[in-house]
Point group: D2
Chain length 434, copies 4
């Protein structure tokens, strides 16, 4: 038994490290489209990739941000002047085969050829957020230029399947940007010629549930056990989950109330899912502009874990352990560890130590009905959503991890990054006197 | 690819939770043999188990501490008087079939029958530490009476394969003692009749390596890269590992020394393993009685992670996250998460945040040659060993996990324990005025 | 020299503890005027105090919240029915003689007699926020009913001189509410008959400075020293202080830029004070609803201390060390220690340990011109003020401390409160198994 | 009242900053006498000071470590050869007036002239630890060469009155060593010509009390109040204090025991003071080589504050806030704040936040009779003393502060030191690309 367990663990590890030798036809470049400096680098990279011959005799198809279509600085017309060959349309006959879909490494790179993109038939094409969310299989590969924020933006663009992502840093390397743009030619050559190894970074699926006023006569009931404080629920339905009416009052250690300790029936509201976000770093629920402290109820797999009185709470992936969770006092957690980090923001107790739970747990953060104020959720720092009393968010490990390309020394990358970027355990070296 | 990864993770999880319906013939009872109160309870439990009929028509074979053989309070003679049937020897003929060995749930419980234990042929037998370490297959099952310390002692007894352990708490439940002795009869009945589910708690194998003075002419060499601080080693041999001579001085950020930054050849010593310990909670390396701060070098998979200037360092399992690591400021980590916790004790820097690395990593703690003092290691609080300059300890996830029996609500047990025992995030409930 | 220093310290300490035997004529009662339960208790207390005879032959003058004037539940008419003697006007002739003496709580207790308050000439009178801010000397004494929030509200009401405050807790005692309302009669008797001892709790004066666009030709200049990062300013004017243009870039430890290290002249803007707040607990500057991290510059006595990249910063009194500062990780600081607590909220570095500076230091928090977003300040949780780029807040120990009445065991009160309210260092007591 | 309080605070502050224009005749140089490099620098400094003319027409009298008397490297004979004038004896006639004693700035620097030191009559003299402890008035001034450890050693030498100390750093400046030896000539010239300003750094007096077996019939009694957990003591004697028998069991929050809550009479032992140490940084009480956790009882002004279950406890001055207390998680506290820092080492609770109490409080750390093991105390890292069950240490602000010479920018020195030495709130500056 023990040996099998070890074996499974090993296998799981190797899986995340397999070298993939797929044929790359199309590359998506993500960058801040408003930063002039970056536009110049994007142009440089795009030209290099379009010149790089692949097995079909032409260079790669390169997708750049649709905002660059008319950018003077990007100067697509200038590229066409210098490299007219990039703009020769691909032959149409293969279009029917490009139904593709399924796999992320499919032949989706073949020219789409539908009427909607008539101008894109050469090697230089333009991507939109909608294309990323609807047709991720169009792209064999994503390259990002910029900081960790650009990588997070890429995660935001691809809410379901994500092509392998190769993040270039400009200047110092970050946690997610482990390739130096100064070496982009050799890095890209190696990727195209020798294939890549990817890390599957866990993402979370965060689903927002809104409270629904109960129909008369169909109200759900729950029993609050007096001796454990647990809530037992009945009539759980698939798509929903029960939000619970106020007063998660724990059993007080005060003997005087003993007489009152009875199982209590609690009026329940039902909730329904309204939207969903994939996050690579973290979900943060805080009090937003409210002057009052947040009151949140935290559940793990339907069990009440604790009542949070704090500025808020962050639920982080290991990848996000060096982001907001770190600021809030969380430990540094290597990205390969399958765990969910629960870290309070400025809690009102002395003893709310950060906690890690298994990634198989369903974590829920509820705004109880007795909360004085609403709460606000943000997803990797974006998409601020207000949570009203009775609403909650369910967090689970996502089915759609985020594949990032490994540098050769992947595992040490992370250690170098925490030393360099966070100055982890760095100290002054005593200068000696002559 | 992504889906497979999720699948593997699921499988791994279920594996640790399978219900095992093995036939139990023999039970080992571990308790503090000097605590009179516990001896009485041990006696009570032993009698109950010996009376409990199994499929062979007799009750269970029960092993109690050899120190109780002559204990007046345990009064084995009194048991014999009241229950002479427990002391009827088992027939010899089945001895040859006890091929046992391999699995922890084998039929090793059949009477050993070798001449060494002539007096043990009835149902009441006596265990010694030696029997636990040499013949773990003698015991189908271990029951502990006492606190978490008794469970740690059990882990100490079984340095290799460990039978499933069912820990009874006397009084309040602890992190490891999740069954209440007050219900021992119904718990034991359920175990014997319906089988058990076990959690495989990770243990660490901690191997102590001692520095060996190098032979002339056979000295190992290592190169210290000036630009990264990394050590590249050559001539690594299987059984050994290179301890490194002094001066892990990091690259200073001081431009003035730039001229001096050269790769440096470092004289190496070889080391050899001398002893090994299995730990369930933690390895602690500290300065012991020395007034000087510890200087330790920390490596992960042959890469230098950091230089530790601190009172010491604790390397903990998730099970141990509520023990010493917690005192030192570490996060609370659910026991199912496969991670190694690295937590410094009173570090001399402001930025030495606790860290978690994957359980697949080999962690080494070295006492460098330039350390002013030696260091001391303890294993689950036991077995204090001095580490001299050049020595190191290698920590890896053990092949021999520690199987503990799950209560029905295993996963909530841990949450209840941290609330109750550590008062995690507990606050005063405001008493209201009339 | 040393002995004198010790002597001064002693004197300072005794001063804060002197017993004051002033004659009390008038009491102000502060409570939440919308809480029905509290209105009832306020009425009860008011009646008791108005019945309590003083040396002028009548009971005390009691001021209650002006909102209660028409409250049915307070029922002033009912009081008049039961106690017509409370409503007999005071004779006018004594007004001129009330020169009274010594203390800051002097002649305010004599009937004001001006035409503005014709109805208030009996013992029951009504206070407004304006009266508190303009005429604190009207009140010899303040009694609060409620929690710590009510005491903070009292501090808010009295922005300059504060009469001695006696805070009654309803239910459990708090940090500031150290008298139990259940004993209000004996407490009030003792106060009136035997005098009081007060603690002078430090408050901060927080002054908001707004950036002013510079006149042409009158621009201030500052020199930024390359080797220390310090800013030397010229032309400092009394009422103003120089806000500084962008880029507090520290000297990088990177030798490569050495050539560029020159003293730099920085364009300065002047600022002017616009409003000022007294706080008893803390000033909090945070990012408010902005999604971006705060960028704040922190100065102590004109010296740049550090650049804050965090969710925000709290500047707390020792009294406030158990409030927001505690949540953010600050130490618990006894209220008698003359210090200013600087505690970051979720800082972006691992090493931003909370800090205490002497209460003689002027602390300034600036929003630099290169900040991406504005910041928001709140004062004891109230009065949210937006700080734009170039604005700053100056924090100094206030000339108007907050005198709270000591219970007999003043110094232990605080220790009891942190044990009870915060469960400081509390642990489970092991229940033993009989 | 309020204004007086502010005034006192101001005065106290200025007092610590007064410029002292005393006439300096004699200087003591402290350094590590075994460090060859330092001997050379000591010689250089001694020669410079002996050459520096004062008002009596000769250079300063310089005391160096008695161990240097015969040091070849120091080469006193060589100095005599080069500067025979240093060795001319001072005239005897003024000896009778040098009774002095009292003040630290007295004329004690005139030649002692007693027969015991016949060889010291020139300018070069030799100090011993005994001279420092018995006759601190011999030295007008102390110069230290080395790191912070050398300053702590100076504090150790002068257990009562301490002459002003000017600490030179070799290499990087430290917390206590705020003058650069590279500028020693100009610094010394300025000191001698213009006088100095000193900071009076608080020290603690730590007095060790040993338990004394009680005489029959004269046993002390104490009452333990059931409702507050406080201990009321009777028969307190001046020189002694009562150590208390076992079981500081707090009131459990468990209603079941309510019936048992009675005031309890506790058997007391008396204690007597046996030795006393002055510390500049901290007192640390820990478990020493014991494998068991420390059990300590902490008292403030005779009130029980808490029971410590931890690796130990550190009681630090603000000066020591950057030493051990920092490692244990304490805040950084500016040296001018009059406070006592209480910081636990690896406590067994989640909620044992570090605490600051006023420097007027008497803090006691007791090893209770029910402790499983003894504890060990060290004083500024020295003088390890074992505390047995029943022993305790009393910590109070010392009557003998430690005067250190201020650099011109005294208050910023500390801030620079925490940035430089501890990298407080330092972060990587993003290197930008091109």
């Amino acid at each position: 038994l023990a040996e099998t367990a070890v074996g499974v663990r090993e296998m799981s590890k190797q899986l995340g490290r397999a070298r993939i030798h797929s044929i790359i036809h199309s590359v998506l470049i993500v960058t801040k489209a408003r930063d002039n400096r970056l536009i110049k680098l994007t142009r440089e990279l795009a030209v290099y990739l379009m010149s790089k011959k692949t097995d079909n005799g032409r260079g790669l198809i390169v997708y750049v941000d649709n905002q660059l279509r008319t950018s003077r600085r990007f100067d697509a017309a200038g590229i066409e002047r210098d490299h007219p060959e990039f703009f020769v349309p691909f032959p149409r006959r293969r279009t029917s085969t490009s139904s593709s879909s399924s796999s992320s490494n499919s032949n989706g790179s073949s020219p789409p050829g539908d009427a909607a993109f008539p101008k894109d038939e050469g090697q230089l094409r333009y991507w939109t957020a909608e294309m990323c969310s609807r047709s991720p299989h169009l792209f064999d590969f994503v390259v990002t230029l910029g900081g960790d924020g650009t990588v997070l933006f890429t995660s935001w663009l691809f809410q379901r399947i994500v092509p392998p992502v190769l993040p270039f840093a400009l200047g110092s390397l970050g946690f997610l940007t482990n390739f130096d743009f100064a070496e982009h030619q050799s890095v890209m050559d190696s990727v195209i010629d020798s294939g890549i190894r990817v890390n599957l970074r866990m993402r979370f699926t965060c689903t927002v549930y809104r409270a629904v006023a109960p129909d008369k006569g169909r109200q759900r009931k729950a029993i609050k056990k007096a001796d454990t404080g647990e809530i037992l629920m009945r009539n759980l339905e698939k798509g929903g989950w029960e939000a619970i009416e106020g007063g998660w009052s724990h059993i007080t250690p005060d003997g005087k109330e003993e007489g009152k300790k009875k199982d209590k029936e609690i009026m329940c509201f039902s909730t329904r899912p309204v939207e969903s976000f994939e996050v690579l770093n973290d979900l943060v629920v805080d009090r937003g502009p409210s002057p009052y402290v947040s009151l949140l109820e935290l559940f793990g797999d339907e069990h009440h874990l604790t009542t949070v009185q704090a500025d808020g709470l962050t639920i982080s992936t290991p990848t996000g352990s060096t982001a907001y969770s770190m600021s809030a006092g969380g430990s540094l957690v290597h990205p390969e560890i399958p765990a969910i980090l629960i870290t309070p923001l400025c809690p009102h107790t002395l003893s709310f130590r950060p906690m890690l739970v298994p990634d198989s747990m369903e974590v829920r953060i509820c705004v109880p009905f007795n909360s004085r104020s609403t709460a606000w959720a943000s997803f990797d720092g974006r998409g601020r959503v207000e949570l009203k009393q009775g609403d909650h968010i369910k967090v689970t490990a996502s089915k759609y991890p985020f594949p990032t390309v490994c540098a050769d020394k992947q595992s040490t990358d992370w250690f170098h990054a925490i030393s360099r970027t966070l100055k982890w355990n760095e100290r002054e070296r005593q200068k000696s006197f002559v």
